[in-house]
Symmetry: C2
Subunit: 545 residues, 2 copies
Amino acid sequence: MLQPLNQVGDAEGCTFDNGTVTTPPGFREAYRTFAEGGWTGLTADPDYGGQGLPLVLGIAIEEMSISANLSFNMYPGLTIGATEAIHAHGTAEQKQTWLPKMISGQWTGTMNLTEPHCGTDLGLLRTRAEPHDDGSYRINGTKIFISAGEHDLTENIIHLVLARIPGGPPGVKGISLFIVPKFLLNDDGTPGERNGVACGAIEEKMGIHGNATCVMNYDDATGYLLGAEHKGLRAMFTMMNAARLGVAMQGLSLAEVAGQNAADYARDRLQGRSLSGPKEPDKPADPIIVHPDVRRMLMEGRAFTEGARAFAYWSALQADLAAKHPDAAVRQSANDLLSLLTPVLKAYFTDRGYAAATQAQQVFGGHGYIREWGMEQFVRDARITQIYEGANGIQGLDLVGRKLPADGGRAIRAFFETVQAFCDENRDDKAMAEFTGPLDEGLGRLQQATMWLMQNAMTTPDNAGAGATDYLYLLALVSLGHVWAQMAKLAQKRLADGDGNAAFYENKLITARYFLQRVMPDSAAHLARVEAGAETLMALDAAAF
Amino acid sequence: MLQPLNQVGDAEGCTFDNGTVTTPPGFREAYRTFAEGGWTGLTADPDYGGQGLPLVLGIAIEEMSISANLSFNMYPGLTIGATEAIHAHGTAEQKQTWLPKMISGQWTGTMNLTEPHCGTDLGLLRTRAEPHDDGSYRINGTKIFISAGEHDLTENIIHLVLARIPGGPPGVKGISLFIVPKFLLNDDGTPGERNGVACGAIEEKMGIHGNATCVMNYDDATGYLLGAEHKGLRAMFTMMNAARLGVAMQGLSLAEVAGQNAADYARDRLQGRSLSGPKEPDKPADPIIVHPDVRRMLMEGRAFTEGARAFAYWSALQADLAAKHPDAAVRQSANDLLSLLTPVLKAYFTDRGYAAATQAQQVFGGHGYIREWGMEQFVRDARITQIYEGANGIQGLDLVGRKLPADGGRAIRAFFETVQAFCDENRDDKAMAEFTGPLDEGLGRLQQATMWLMQNAMTTPDNAGAGATDYLYLLALVSLGHVWAQMAKLAQKRLADGDGNAAFYENKLITARYFLQRVMPDSAAHLARVEAGAETLMALDAAAF
């Protein structure tokens, strides 16, 4: 249902006409089917019509939906974020008013943060919210880059909008969050009068053409305060982990679907002969999957997607534990690890997702550059994931500036202990040495980089910024290396037990080996770059660039 | 003239109507001005109207032209390749007939290699060339991905076409090269009757929309044999070095223009405060160029483009020496090095060019994803450079399979000696240690990788394929490291002499330091991957991917 609409969504895109946005052909029907099937409320609170399923299941479904059609997935995907914000910060009445129809998919939701002069630095935000006698607010301002800000899929759209209440503190401490529906509600809860919010234009973009990226104009729009006055940013942040994990899944999902296509092509396309002699002598040439360099591209994608998927499931499990486990200590520990690793998930998965999509495209040679094959769309679509929901450079800063030092480094120490314990437990297992050896080495480099930052970033904060991205990559490599080593351990056990599909476990071992042999060595260069510090980066005069 | 047409070329693209291709608005006028200015014949033979300037000057001009408008540049750029083939392999009469008007820009030229089932593996080629009584041939077949195969810029288009003469040997040994003009010539040399070649369609692509990528149908077209029968591939290969250096320049040029735009944006865009305290306290925020991670992106681009430019000039000089030096030993040595390093130039420059364009786009945040800023076009245009003129994986195979073992490894040994001599000469120069140290280390890794391939690729050829791309990167790092260390040496001398612009030389030292501190460390991982061999790559069953 979704995959057949992916290319038409790209080719036709959304169209804008005087405030109205029309989604690509087929999107309306697909959305109706999607919502009617209950897919919009999988992980939502049953008290408001959700199915209450764990996030670990939610993201597994999410991956398939994104692989099929990212642009489509964003309409219900962004709704989940808005729903969670209302669920976490709304009054009982607000929750009763908005959640059931958002969870059922009858309405969608959006997040309105960015303004033309203000992206990462939300302290510069100018949109105003004037209190009104009836307790509501009048919102005025312009927001840009609002995904799914306007469309024809649902009868109402619920915007969550960051704005300033006059008289509040300057900067990020004076920002509040508001619910601003496209249509105000009648007393019976149905959409009534049009609110003072309208889409002024949609952007021409590199990709995700099937999703409307809107300029939203708020002109005396009625808004309802969500959460406390001036605490809007905190409210936004509470759902950041989930939203960023969602974008991480986008990177993974596009790598996966691009990789599946590349593998199919590599099995079909006949070109050249194997270096070790013809493999299909009765054909005019061998399929290109016989060439080691083609396999290198496929294996690199595979080692990423399989490792990333396992890591994502584990991360979603931490989110579920943090939200629902009865033991406060377990909740805290899960929340620590999830918070620490969220920027890693977001930045590494999307950088690698883009790289993997590009490499899958490369397998197609010239055909990869041609629209009809669909590969170049994966690359264009993947590119946005590195940018939105906090550009990847910001993820590095979030990691080294906030997550690493939080609570005296409690989270990173717990991470070290977990990985170290795994290496120690398996130290005498000879069959595990090829996995634990490189993992242990990577962990040592990560610890060394951490120490370096602790010693050098306090006195010279630019050292933290200079090493942020490389530190993030180093943590990502150790995280995925840990996951791969665990999978190898289990695969060995299953094979020894003669349990299940032997080929499946053999392939896991091969791919684990690929990761630890051929990907983990990058950790040395990342450490070198962290330790190189800020000096060379900051030395050039700005005008000299 | 060219830069203002770059975005319109992308937005409007070429249009196809019943065999006719119309280039984007403004391209015709720009092409006329370009040709009238003499820019099409800069490096061509003065005997046929060229200016006989060295390639080292030609590529310097080329860079500016490509940075301004890649799609436009390809029309005259591809003509140079065709001109060189006719110059090298044509009879005196052929040269007199075709060259003057191609060099003057009155006609353009194309290269026709690829067929639907045959890209890299030209042995599968099917286009036929039947001898005709008058000494010409009748060409029949279909070629795809023919850049500039049809357009409205010139009164004639001269296609060079690979085809098989019936009765020749199978595979690549039975391929011949033909001159096939769009219009046959009248006795006075002016275009006359239409030849049996027509554009059947143009491709919808990811980028380079301003250049028509054509399906070319040959239907009893008259062609003239260029060079010897069945030696067409060799004729093609003679101009491969120049063509691949040209594509390398495309990678560099797009990185350069994208980087210039990113630097401008980073100086203008106000967002956040410097980690070391506000730099422009009177403004609402600091320009983002104060942030180390933004500088990391800019410096990475800069360390690539400046190093790559110096390396490209040096390579073009080798081409000039190989073509024109009176001493045969100098010609041979220059040709050795150029042949060895051509795949490095092509693959590394275009991979890095794409990465640098992507990173420059990243500096723009969300704005980078929007069409009107122009950044995403650089990325889409850069993507093709990794694919055409031999996909980058093929460059690695050319390097380890052909170039490395050629003449008993004479070229790579000469390369080692040159770099080693530089390190040795500067061993006691303390001020050079920060440059020669990492270079020496990189060289050691490259030598180790070379040794490993020698010892392991003969018995297991897949080991060569498995390490090809990483070996190429390792050679690229040492090549650019060498260039950077040489520039550092010269900068130190100029500074010591108080000679010229001190800031310029200081900036060279800073950028050299960046490269050797932060880029060269990747050499360790490349070595590890070469030494990992083919086993992990080849272990998975093709069906399991």
